[in-house]
Point group: C2
């Protein structure tokens, strides 16, 4: 499976679509000049192409396995991890004080996406560490930061997040793991956690778990949850991995895909841990980590989409089958890429990847601007875009991987081809870090507590782009403008619903419609920046063929909950 | 994985939705009374629930394997095959003269769908035999019929179809397998065929291959193709499986799913075969088989959808997670089925299964009416509905299985749960028997050579239903009427395009829009037949929330090919 990181695409997006110039204009990120970010992208791309991409297939064929209580990783993963760690790609956005590069999240997001496209299973490991680094930077004591951050950033140690328990998944407040104060600054943590990605492995000297648990007498629900740092090996006096802590891997899951990533059931039996953030303040600390991870998971979907697209395109440019429409004409390839339906599939893939990537990087810019300026509007924008970036990015990942299989025809269903692996691997991204349904509910509830203001400001911007394009691209401008107006009406309707279920019933189609319209907006920007070029042609395809999907979605989004509950659970089972 | 055949649903469809009464009113199918068909459905359902469903998981875990040139099937498949054969479920619609039941294809389609829902991998075996039986009934000599049909119908022998070669997939005319006349009424067949489902196995005494090959001097392309019957074992004088023929299994494919179904690479080396149909008449004979198989594959998608739906619903009715909207109210279950987004997912699954099933059975009714009356309009309708039934049925299969994984959350990605298997197994149904893209191209080209007349007559019927519903269900009637009018405009537009590529560029969205509108029509019929009942509520959900999808699809369908080819292959690779 060849993979080539699309460095030019990211650079174009930075400059013309998502406005990285605003980020560069801040004091905090003044060093992230065009030269610097392009050098970073190029260097990271090289590693992805040469070191990580060759690990994609071996990870599928030779899954991580549990041997005598220790997880052994797939062949070659040690070299891949080394390249990621030594390249500094774990701590790209981490605090330079602890060894990080202090780069904008926008750049980190692009590099994370590349790594996902090259080898998703392995990329999940640094993504988990990045989330832990950010949580510790914001919430841990200085002593913990001094000890752990340099090691997590260098890749000497790795991080995990432990939320889920068998009875507490989407409802994290139902968790029952316990912690007791040992009276010496440490806590004793006990309980079972499931679905712990990279919960154990042989790539680094230590595995540091951030574990949600309850102190004695804590209130029920999310309010009573505290966060603990529980390393596999307790640090010795020199700060190195010392004595084994009371934590072990019970088993690994047999999954549909992502075989190279060990998904662990973890057992904590009086394991020693340190409080991160205040007692009962676990959820706030965890949300720091989860927001980071949500954008990261959206990027995973986009990365896989890019990999699957390149893979399918290479096949379509090579496979001969039947006479095509271009036979004997300019641009004729003699291969199936010239068949209208194959070209429709490939162009849809490319157009959707652009949309999802531009949305994710727009979200990252909003995060960077929030971090650099503390501005409340940027913060609200980042919060609003995060669930969209996560759900749409992963939906596009699944759809593009699915279409990639279809482009291959019968070969797509045969595992040796590699198309199926993209589809199997990416499936989990719509589930973990909050299912895409949870993302949509977050969008229409929590992220609309402002009455739809953040959404409205985004739509103002969409309409400003349409206004700017009116003179030169009138048909595209009008389509985007009209779509934005329909979305504004739907947003107002949702924001007015006092019964949250009326919103939840249409949350998923609403989120997708929002992504569709933002995609139109960002494609239109690309068309303006590349008049008469390939990007304008791609924008035209998207706006004429894919954007109209929003009409049906918005009808669905505004149907309310009444008809949904009119059909009872008994009716469903009848 | 429990599975329960939905006998009442099929019976309701027969009586109220697809008009099986018209079929029963013909001389040919006068015996298929309500009592008879219900008894058949009940008996078949019992076998599916009790015998086939338990084989679904073992087939995935213990794939068919090649041992010393012979395929060994998954544990328990021999008992499953025996139940299918002894129940008479292979030859349900076959000629009673040769041991068949002579039942309408509508009934066969329902039973095939059930078997697919219970165990897709195994069900593919009788489906292949059914196609061969139909091809032989129509095109083989009396001698071949006398010898082969009773054995195929009883399940003593099985049938396969051999079209594809490495360089000839969608472009079947590119095949290069050869046949030479031996001068004794037999032919000598040589070549390699790939993707041969159930190409070998240990369930029956003989495997009979229908093989497309070229006679010496035959013209290039599909016109030069002849069809041959090539049994694995040559029949001896008593008509039993005798000497091994010159055919062998080279290898089995490692597939994403459908592990219980052996997918063979077959090698023919001067194998003895018998001509079926006239020389160079292979494609016509093969199309008999393929049309049967296309409807059958559509039913596979629907069957898997039903299995995945039941599986997800059972989980949602059991899994507790968070407070739901119905807490403390009537109909409260205390489980996630009461969450709006979960209910939206499950209701979408159920509504789409209804639509796909009703379309497939409508197609089967058209086939039965054609067979019983020879009427040209029924024939045109059957031809028009076949690609829709295939593509939409399998699309719904994939979407519902995908959503089934999502309903399970993290459990869905874990193989033990079984949700992932539905998704992996059903994936191939959108590819084999002509990819769904090929189906859509067939729809807008060959099936519109009448200028859209067959489509127009279907739309007349949709509008008649809307007219009939105007008084009692005005909102639903209006939505369906409007959708039919939009579809009529799009149909006219497509039929007017002289450049086939302008049709092909929108073929897939057009096919889906047609299915969406037919689904609205058939749901509306259900609402009329069940006023105030669960079926009206389901129809309301479909028409309000899912039908509007046609708006975006029809915009896509009418965009032509110009923008598609404006973006060159080089642009796609840039």
């Amino acid at each position: 499976m060849p993979y080539h990181a699309v460095v030019d695409d990211y650079a174009f997006m930075f400059d013309h679509i998502v406005g990285l110039d605003q980020v560069r204009a801040t004091d905090r990120f003044a060093d992230a000049t065009d030269d610097v970010t392009r050098a970073i992208l190029t260097e990271a791309g090289k590693m992805c192409d040469e070191v990580l991409a060759p690990l994609q297939r071996p990870g599928d064929l030779h899954p991580a396995r549990l041997e005598n209580g220790v997880v052994r990783t797939s062949p070659g993963y040690d070299q891949g991890w080394k390249a990621i760690a030594e390249g500094g790609w774990i701590g790209m956005s981490a605090d330079p004080e602890y060894g990080g590069m202090g780069l904008p999240m926008t750049v980190t997001s692009a590099v994370n996406e590349m790594m996902s496209g090259a080898c998703l299973s392995l990329q999940l490991a640094p993504l988990m560490s990045q989330g832990q680094i950010e949580a510790l930077e914001h919430h841990a004591s200085d002593a913990i930061k001094q000890l752990y951050l340099p090691k997590l950033i260098s890749g000497e140690w790795t991080g995990t997040m432990n939320l889920t328990e068998p009875q507490a998944g989407s409802d994290v407040g139902a968790l029952s793991s316990k912690a007791e104060d040992n009276g010496d600054g440490t806590y004793s943590v006990s309980g079972q956690k499931i679905y712990i990605s990279w919960g154990d492995h042989d790539l680094a000297d230590n595995v540091c778990h951030l574990v949600l648990a309850r102190l004695p007498g804590a209130p029920a629900g999310t309010k009573g949850i505290s966060l603990f740092l529980v390393p596999k090996y307790l640090p010795d006096d020199a700060g190195n991995a010392g004595k084994l802590n009371g934590v072990k891997v019970v088993s690994l899951e047999h999954k549909m895909g992502l075989h190279g990533s060990p998904t662990c059931v973890m057992q904590y039996d009086g394991a020693t841990g340190w409080l991160v953030g205040p007692e009962q303040g676990g959820m706030a600390a965890m949300f720091t980590m989860m927001n980071n991870a949500r954008l990261g998971v959206g990027g995973q979907g986009i990365g896989v989409a890019e990999g699957a697209y390149q893979h399918a395109l290479a096949y379509a440019m090579d496979r001969k089958q039947g006479r095509t429409a271009l036979e004997g004409k300019d641009g004729h390839t003699g291969t199936i890429v010239d068949h209208a339906d194959v070209r429709r599939m490939l162009t849809t893939m490319k157009a959707d990847i652009f949309a999802a990537r531009a949305i994710a990087l727009s979200c990252a810019v909003a995060i960077d601007m929030t971090n650099a300026t503390g501005d409340a509007d940027w913060k609200a924008r980042a919060a609003f875009l995060t669930p969209i970036a996560k759900a749409f990015g992963t939906d596009v990942g699944m759809e593009v991987a699915h279409t990639g299989v279809q482009v291959h025809g019968g070969m797509g269903f045969v595992e040796e081809t590699g198309a199926a692996q993209f589809s199997r691997d990416v499936r989990v991204t719509a589930i973990y870090e909050g299912t895409n349904g949870i993302q949509a509910m977050d969008l229409v509830a929590r992220k609309m507590m402002d009455g739809g203001d953040a959404a409205g400001r985004l739509l103002d911007e969409v309409e400003a782009t349409a206004e700017a394009a009116k003179a030169t691209l009138p048909d595209l401008a009008e389509a985007v403008w009209n779509a934005a107006e329909s979305l504004r009406e739907a947003t107002d309707w949702l924001a007015e619903q006092k019964d949250l279920n009326a919103r939840f019933a249409g949350a998923v189609p609403y989120l997708r419609a929002f992504a569709r319209v933002l995609g139109g907006h960002l494609h239109l920007r690309a068309a303006l920046a590349d008049k008469g070029g390939a990007r304008e042609k791609l924008a035209r395809f998207y706006i004429q063929r894919l954007l109209p999907e929003h009409v049906g979605l918005l009808a669905h989004a505004q149907a309310g909950a009444q008809d949904l509950y009119a059909l009872t659970a008994d009716d469903l089972a009848a």
